[in-house]
Symmetry: C2
Subunit: 754 residues, 2 copies
Amino acid sequence: MRIVETGYQKEKTEFFGSKFCIGNGYYGYRGTLEEYTKDQLVACTLSEIFDDSGNGWREPVNVPNGLKCTLLCDGEELSVLTKEPVEHEQALDLKGGFHERRSVFVSKSGKRIEIKTERFASLKDLHLLVMKYAVIVDEKAELVWKSHFDCDIWDINGPHFYEQKQGEIHGIDVVASTTIQNKKKAAVGQFAVIREGEGKLLRENGEITVTSVLEKGKTLEIVKYVSVCKETDCVLPEVAAADICLDASEKGYQYWREEQEKLWKERYEHLGIEIIGDEEAQLAVYYSCYLLLCSAPFHTDTVAIPARGLSGQVYKGAMFWDTEIYMLPMFAFCEPEVARNLMNYRVKNLAGALKKAAEYDYQGAFFPWESQENGEDGCTHYNLTDIFTGRKMRTYFRDKQIHISADVVYGLWKYMMITGDYSLLFEGGAETILECARFFYSYSYYKKGKHRYEFLDVTGADEYHERINNDAYTNYMIDLSLKTALHVIEYLKKENPAYFEELLKKIDFPDAEQIIGEMAVELYLPQPNADGVIEQFDGYFKEEDLTIEELYSRIIKPNEYLGSPTGLAVHTQILKQADVVLLLSLLGDQFSSEIKEKNWKYYEPRTEHGSSLSTCIYALLAAQIGMTDWAYKYLMRAGRIDLDGDYKLYLGDLYIGGTHPAANGGTWMVTVQGFGGLTPLEEGVSIIPHLPEKWTQLSYCFYYGTGRYRVSITSEKITLEPLEGEHILKVTTETGTYTCKPTEKLEILRGDTK
Amino acid sequence: MRIVETGYQKEKTEFFGSKFCIGNGYYGYRGTLEEYTKDQLVACTLSEIFDDSGNGWREPVNVPNGLKCTLLCDGEELSVLTKEPVEHEQALDLKGGFHERRSVFVSKSGKRIEIKTERFASLKDLHLLVMKYAVIVDEKAELVWKSHFDCDIWDINGPHFYEQKQGEIHGIDVVASTTIQNKKKAAVGQFAVIREGEGKLLRENGEITVTSVLEKGKTLEIVKYVSVCKETDCVLPEVAAADICLDASEKGYQYWREEQEKLWKERYEHLGIEIIGDEEAQLAVYYSCYLLLCSAPFHTDTVAIPARGLSGQVYKGAMFWDTEIYMLPMFAFCEPEVARNLMNYRVKNLAGALKKAAEYDYQGAFFPWESQENGEDGCTHYNLTDIFTGRKMRTYFRDKQIHISADVVYGLWKYMMITGDYSLLFEGGAETILECARFFYSYSYYKKGKHRYEFLDVTGADEYHERINNDAYTNYMIDLSLKTALHVIEYLKKENPAYFEELLKKIDFPDAEQIIGEMAVELYLPQPNADGVIEQFDGYFKEEDLTIEELYSRIIKPNEYLGSPTGLAVHTQILKQADVVLLLSLLGDQFSSEIKEKNWKYYEPRTEHGSSLSTCIYALLAAQIGMTDWAYKYLMRAGRIDLDGDYKLYLGDLYIGGTHPAANGGTWMVTVQGFGGLTPLEEGVSIIPHLPEKWTQLSYCFYYGTGRYRVSITSEKITLEPLEGEHILKVTTETGTYTCKPTEKLEILRGDTK
């Protein structure tokens, strides 16, 4: 599957940088062209290394660009920045995460020069970035190709390196950079070879020059190996960078390319998605999964997935609640090792969450809103700028979105439910869950006259309404996290009472069970009103009820932030994103289809989708209740967001461009959990599909417990094929509950239920 | 005592309109000149009649101006609006509330014409407004004086009359106006006579013309009687308006003037303030009391005193918490009948407070933030405009300043304590107090881990910080109101158990005593920290700590509102006004002098005094703890506010000019309760004075119970002289507790305590 854009579209430089990005979880590399510089937002963004330069926010660092190169033909530079190409194409071949570029220039002297490049972020060696650069001429021409580290780095809040040392190690050019805040070191190495064609390669002062007098119809092909090394996994990053370039060039381009295809193929097989009858949807889903996998930490549990993946530094490279709610499901079902890393990232950073709670005079664990590599909150109290006054605005993302701790517990619970891996509980998971419950107890207030616990002054999923009371999403998610804590207590008491005793002592929480139990019973859960609608928060229905068009008509300045403290949506019923609808899709077993539909229909026209976390959830719930037309419409908005670039680029004056992992993960959720109807249960799964009309068949694969399965759904039947493991799976469908044995394909006729 | 301004100061037109205003509680008349129109903010503002024209806020109405007149000399108009006077003086003689004006013009032909006017708002007949207009010429001149109703009324949110009918009744010109919203009628009558000098008076179509050929050195003196009648007390306002003019003219100018002086003299005698050694302070105090008395409802309990008195329509003519906290003390001690009216106004409007609480889903009585004549809240949810965007801002004055209900209870408690009049309890007072307690219960939340009731999401006295938790002022005032409720319960159970039973049944609050009792025990009262400072609200100490100058340096637009939602002070420690310091001065018996001083010194440099309610409280507490230099400095700021015009004229684009009754009442408080040390106790009073150095003697009068007393304080002794009644008064001073018998002067030597 290929994503292609034809013709040079200068105005889409920023967008294509995200759309065509590549990455391997260790780093991301934006989909920029080889001649680009910081002005075109070139970035090789690292995971795991963050820096606060003192010029703004703490954010992930970008390293020097090792792919920068220019081509001269008969002394004339061939660059889209200075010359319009006569043909141009940029593409992404999902098969191996190959970024492709093809440009044809006509030189002043009328020669036709074709440039073809291919690059990929190696999965085989995560430090490796490989590029092939080919030139073909229609007349003999003198070519000069130059490449060097571009150390003039694009940063949002940089520069982040207090020094950049360039030198040579083992005959390889290396630049070693050291961050300002924590003196973390990253190194980039470069090495080039001529793979085809006659030419002379010269290395001097870090610059590689290839000169060639190329005959008509001949190809000059250069391969450039760039290594990216960090001290997080390399003792001496600069030495490692050199060694990796040497190793890479020894194995050669073909080796790395084949390995790349093989490893991506494995990933795609784990997804196993096949949509018969709808190639467009198939592409959107695969592209979404591709983007998400590009940023996934297969190699570490010290970071999760940033809100813009590794497509740049936006949102401080921080991990939000999206990880648990939007991304975890795909990984838990298809790449459980990554899911474990993601959850371990939270568990290992419990200390930061305890510290944050204490900072606000609460007890227990209050997870960061914008979590970085150290488990501290990258979110500031002044997170936005008022575009009317230029003043920083006090925002409450950091201190009031307490649902984050419930989301983490939800993630742990989902992870355990799907993988059957309870070992995390004994490695900090149980402690995390209990500390989250303790946090909620300390945050709660008891309303005496009404005999209930309430959660006041919070911000829910919909960020346009800050500091509200009894947010439905928040309260229900807290309820789930309390119940999870009680399950865990029960589990530990049964499985390892000594450990449980020890734990309670360690965290000094002897009355945990009693306190959590009482609160779980008396927690206020807003119920549907007479119209079946759950009020998003106390007083929401009293806010101004208007159309989104009417709201837009009040905008007086472009990019106005619509949320708190004074945005246009604040005192209206307009939502930024799915909120009650999110709740109903996550905790689906607690609500009837009728309630789900009523809420969907109430909130949908009031949702502005000002967050990329929104459309996929509208699709998901619609799919789950069989509103397949609506679901399909929203699936395509979610699944195509990074293909079409139909998202907000600015909040006030804050640039928020990049890819959208939550929407990417959400797209998988809609496909598999929505249309495909896959839901994990305490024991086994349920598969209650609702396929869009044109999908004649949907297949997908998933892990559950120790088994792996392929599901195929048509209007007639559901076929469940065990692929791995000895697991005996209980499956509930529209027609009953079945057992799938390890070696037998199970076919379930669907009857009239479609 | 006279207030004088010499020379015509055009730029002070607005300010002098307030500074020189007159009034009698029935109406107020701004200190404008006779030739002025709406452009110079002429206003005759009524109490008791409010209107919402649909053009903005509900506000008191202004009636047509009956004093408008112009003078022509030899055909040339003599008006400060068109001609610079060669001499000019505007004055207020406090003796009788006489507004005086003297202007000398030199005509084109070189003649010197002197105009002298005097006007007053009659206390004898509250409907009456009387003016004397005299002209003297230095050469024979032809004069034409014209006067008519100026029906082109200055309104902030008007016009408020859907019709204005002009006509003649009993030979008197009358204009009858009917409001838009409630069809309330008010009428103004006019009648003029020549009192001195030769002239011809002609009445035609509502215009009165006096023509005179005046000889050199002679005086032409015209008296104009204007009547103001409302349907609140006149069955047919237009007929009453005519009758009053007739009656007035029959009795004649001298009669009304003498009565006026006599009645003001009585009022001043009730105050009895004499400051020997400081005429400036004496003047400031008397002027403050004058202004407050001008707006006081001696005649009715259907309104209290608006936040800008009767000096115009600002702040919607609404009654705020200032009434109880800042104004009531002077009335309770000096005009107890007015104090009863003020408290009755609240008690009678309990229904409005119950309704407001229900509107926000609370129980009990939530008194209006901006109370108008009907007990409904004139305050809107969008009370200010953002001057950067022109958009209305959601403000929380209305819904979060819950301390208003505690302030009302405080007022009732003070009133009863000072007057000994508990009869109000049986006329709605007890019900009001219990319903306020019920409101607080329903608003409170219980913090389980901390075993305490808290008050969340409130706004305290300092309005720059909205929506905060556990505001010290609020919590302590609620504590007082709960304890008052318990006292009242105890009192009723003892004095009239049947009534108490009945009352609980009527208001369906059988467990009142238990609920209020429990809450009073467990209510959270923020305690002084290690430095002895009480934190204004949860988290206040964490806010940015900067100087006021630094704050001001951040202002980018004149009249920026500094408060919520996004004003510059919001996330700083800068206060609008005395808050904790107010608490410490109101509930002084609960705190040591040391704590008071420490808090005063902490908060004083952080207080911007952006409210006229601030400086007097800083003066009061400073005086009470003997910081007399500071107290004096702040007394003069409070006492001279309306003399000097040193106050904010705008909040954003909202005009807030006028007189400042709270500061006026506060000035009395500082003088008598601060320097004079008078404090009401459960039984008797304490008098612990701290005189400023230059005050060699301070005297004042007060009622207590059924007695009236004069106190004189020197550095050597306190003399207490009973003036009225059979009361035996217990008096506590620095040196001990004494008994003052009805007929004996009590002299207490002060010892070394100064």
